[in-house]
């Protein structure tokens, strides 16, 4: 039984944590949240230099060819620091989509530039309120031209290219669309987490090419989302751990009625609940990344389980961290709200809790039937 990261991987974690502590303090998050920028471009540059954007891209395409274990470790640390970066859009989703669905030319054209970080990419899925329904997409491709509106698209304002989920007469497709072209307009959209930019992206006869030059099997798209779910789970776990740490530190330091508030059972048990949820989320995230790394056919179940656990842990920890801080936690000046915003933002990305609860049970039923 070896259900633990290797020593090298642990070393990577330490390195990543040290790096982000230095280069992504909470003041960096605050600067993007408060300012006009949609990301911390300088930090992105440094992260790219660390090779993090290249982690799982094959060496043949300029990547490091490492495993998802390494990427999961980086994801957790990204979450821990609430980094104001398009990392999930570009690395967990867009790079993965190109790697999985692109033809040789597409991979050669884009993966090296994604690996080096000089290019940022995103994925455009949602078109309207509610669950994503692949068969109802209104963004259409005809010939090399794409039309339709995607909203919200995370990180589109800083991305060079988007993988756009669309339909043509042939069926479902993932289209590669450079965003700096005449047929594309990217309008900012206000969200509750302005430390990441979001846009409404309208395609009006935009030049687009189909990834892999063929239609996309919906199951393959689901599988891409399974992978992203695992990596997002690690990022959410990082957020949850920071929220727990903040709450614990405050509970030790803040006194009321002559004793630390952390000595009151109402606070103790709240923090114990956070710890329990974080522990369940972590263990499920371990299994998720194991299934993702090995290409296990348990991935659909493992990914859904990791995602649901991470959503529950991160939103609970973020909400109750503020509650533990009392009035100060509700101020803009304290950092607690960063984690509330980001936890909820990531919970809404790629399908929210109920979507993944439903997928979990479907996967469980399928796995039971197969056993």
């Amino acid at each position: 039984m070896n259900f633990e990261f290797s020593d090298e991987q642990q070393l990577l974690r330490e390195q990543a944590r040290g790096f982000l502590t230095e280069h992504c303090p909470t003041s960096a998050v605050r600067a993007v949240l408060d300012g006009d920028q949609d990301w911390d471009a300088a930090l992105w540059q440094k992260v790219a230099e660390m090779g993090w954007t290249a982690t799982v891209i094959p060496e043949a395409y300029g990547g490091l060819g490492l495993s998802y274990y390494e990427l999961a470790i980086i994801a957790e640390e990204m979450g821990r620091s609430a980094a104001p970066l398009p990392f999930s859009s570009s690395v967990y989703l867009a790079s993965e989509a190109i790697q999985r669905f692109g033809n040789e030319a597409q991979k050669s054209a884009w993966l090296p530039r994604l690996a080096s970080g000089e290019c940022v990419a995103t994925v455009a899925m949602a078109e309207r309120a509610g669950r994503l329904a692949l068969e109802q997409l209104e963004t259409r491709r005809g010939g090399s031209q794409l039309s339709g509106t995607k909203v919200p698209v995370a990180d589109a304002s800083v991305a060079e290219v988007a993988v756009v989920l669309a339909r043509s007469d042939a069926g479902l497709e993932a289209c590669l669309v450079p965003l700096q072209q005449a047929g594309v307009s990217v309008e900012p959209v206000l969200t509750f987490d302005t430390s990441r930019g979001h846009s409404s992206v309208t395609f009006d006869g935009a030049e687009a090419e189909v990834l892999g030059e063929t239609t996309l099997n919906p199951e393959d798209w689901e599988s891409l989302l399974d992978g992203a779910a695992v990596l997002l789970a690690w990022e959410q776990l990082g957020l949850a751990e920071t929220a727990l740490t903040q709450a614990r530190d405050y509970a030790l330091q803040r006194f009321a009625f002559g004793r630390a508030i952390g000595s009151y059972q109402a606070i103790k048990h709240k923090l114990a609940n956070m710890y329990v949820k974080n522990t369940l989320a972590r263990s499920n995230a371990y299994y998720g990344v194991w299934a993702l790394s090995g290409g296990s056919d348990e991935l659909p179940l493992a990914a859904a389980t990791a995602r649901v656990a991470a959503i529950q842990a991160s939103t609970y920890a973020a909400e109750e961290n503020i509650q533990t801080h009392g009035g100060m936690g509700f101020t803009w000046e304290f950092d607690c709200h960063f984690y509330l915003r980001r936890a909820k933002l990531l919970s809404l990305a790629i399908g929210s809790e109920a979507v993944w609860q439903d997928r979990l049970v479907s996967a469980l039923a399928a796995q039971s039937a197969a056993a």
């Binding site: 899925m125 949602a126 309207r128 309120a129 509610g130 669950r131 994503l132 329904a133 109802q136 909203v151 919200p152 959209v189 206000l190 969200t191 509750f192 987490d193 979001h198 409404s200 030790l252 330091q253 803040r254 006194f255 009321a256 009625f257 002559g258 004793r259 630390a260 009151y264 109402a266 606070i267 939103t315 909400e319 503020i322 509650q323 009392g326 009035g327 100060m328 936690g329 509700f330 101020t331 803009w332 000046e333 607690c336 709200h337 509330l340 909820k344 933002l345 919970s347 809404l348 990305a349 399908g351 929210s352 809790e353 109920a354 979507v355």
Partner: protein, 401 residues
């Protein structure tokens, strides 16, 4: 059981309603005024007609109305789109304190002006290091001849920047136990040394202020209660807090949930048909209806002359976490669009998001969830207090971390 007024109540309602119909402001000139000006004009109009602070004695500008008449008046007033009320804290909490503790001269000087809205008051109790432990306040007042000199900082003060006067609790003796070393004053908010800074909340709004005191002089004649009796005086103010604050859960109610669930689809069917969505809506409705009918029961008791009790603490304790859970869930129903705060793009999402960001504040303001549960456990169910490590210990020797 019936939901109708008694004949006396009906008469009173009719009187109130007729006056409102004739006097509620609607003209454009009025709407052009600033919100504070609108509030002052409307308050003065009510005052002049005897409809301000109706529960107060006529001497102070009221009409000695009963508690149920106050409720009826509020019900009738709520039928109109009236200016925001800038006087809640002054009239709801500070007025009763002045009545109980001020000199006759001060009562005559201040209460009618408070009722008429010509003077606005704020309350200066909370401090950064205090939180739920309100009496652990550290702002000092030191005697200097006939004056006191105040130094320190208050926080969470609503309306400090537009208030004329404020009431403040300060520590006048740090060498005696916490509750015994406090004194209570009213002060001029324009006095030298008073500095007001708005606090930005995580919602981006600034509903509260920090107020800094640097060598602010206040006359001993502005003291309410004896030196060292400040805690008792504050209790009068705080006892009236529930009446003045009340839970406002905005538009975050089940009807909003129903309309989102009717518009959004799950697997090609309205979310309204989804059993998980239905179970949530049912649970929220149970809470909403339960609070509403608890309110009816309280009104009945009021109507029979009873005083509102601590059992009313459940409103915020139920309502604030419900608002958090409901807004979170409705964002989930909206999916990725749930992140959009831009009302032009997603009108309901804007409301829902403000609720989700505002809910943590409601769970804290006016007593955290945990304090509310303590109040119910101790005052309603009669359970004992926690052991108090700060009891009987001089304030300056109490551990502070």
């Amino acid at each position: 059981m019936d939901f109708n007024d008694t004949p006396e109540e009906a008469r009173f309602r009719e009187e109130a309603s007729s006056w409102l119909a004739e006097n509620a402001p609607t003209d454009d000139a009025f709407r052009a005024l600033s919100p504070l000006e609108q509030a002052k004009v409307w308050q003065k109009r009510k005052y002049d007609a005897g409809w301000a602070c109706i529960g107060w004695a006529p001497d102070f500008g009221g009409r000695g109305a009963s508690a149920i008449e106050e409720v009826i008046w509020r019900q009738e007033e709520s039928q109109y789109d009236l200016p925001a009320n800038f006087f809640l804290i002054g009239q709801g909490m500070i007025g009763p304190t002045l009545m109980a503790w001020a000199s006759d001269e001060d009562k005559a000087r201040f209460l009618p002006q408070l009722a008429s809205g010509e003077e606005v008051w704020c309350q200066l109790f909370s401090e950064p290091a205090g939180g739920s432990d309100l009496a652990a306040l550290r702002t000092r007042a030191e005697r200097d001849g006939d004056d006191w000199v105040i130094n320190g900082q208050k926080i969470w003060t609503s309306g400090a920047h537009y208030s004329d006067y404020g009431v403040i609790v300060v520590r006048t003796d740090p060498t005696v136990p916490k509750h015994k070393g406090l004194s209570y004053f009213y002060i001029d908010m324009k006095a030298p040394g008073v500095e007001i800074k708005p606090i930005k909340q995580l919602t981006g709004d600034s509903d509260f202020n920090e107020v800094y005191f640097t060598d602010v002089r206040v006359s001993d004649s502005q003291r309410l209660g004896e030196v060292g009796q400040g805690w008792q005086v504050s209790l009068t103010t705080l006892m009236n807090e529930r009446a003045a604050i009340g839970g406002s859960f905005g538009q975050m109610d089940v009807s909003l949930a129903m309309s989102v669930a009717a518009e959004v689809e799950i697997d090609g069917r309205p979310a309204m048909e989804d059993a998980a969505v239905r179970a949530r809506i049912a649970d929220w409705y149970v809470q909403e209806a339960g609070l509403k009918y608890t309110g009816y029961r309280s009104l009945t008791a009021l109507s029979r002359g009873a005083l509102p009790g601590p059992e009313n603490s459940i409103g915020k304790l139920v309502g604030a976490p419900k608002m958090q859970a409901m807004s979170s869930y409705l964002m989930d129903l909206l999916g990725a669009s749930g992140a959009i705060a831009d009302e032009a793009l997603a009108a309901k999402a804007g409301i829902i998001q403000r609720a989700y960001m505002g809910a943590p504040g409601l769970r804290i303001a006016g007593g955290t969830d945990e304090i509310m549960a303590n109040i119910i456990a101790e005052r309603v169910l009669g359970l004992p207090q926690e052991p108090r490590l700060d009891k009987g210990i001089p304030f300056n020797e109490v551990p502070t971390g």
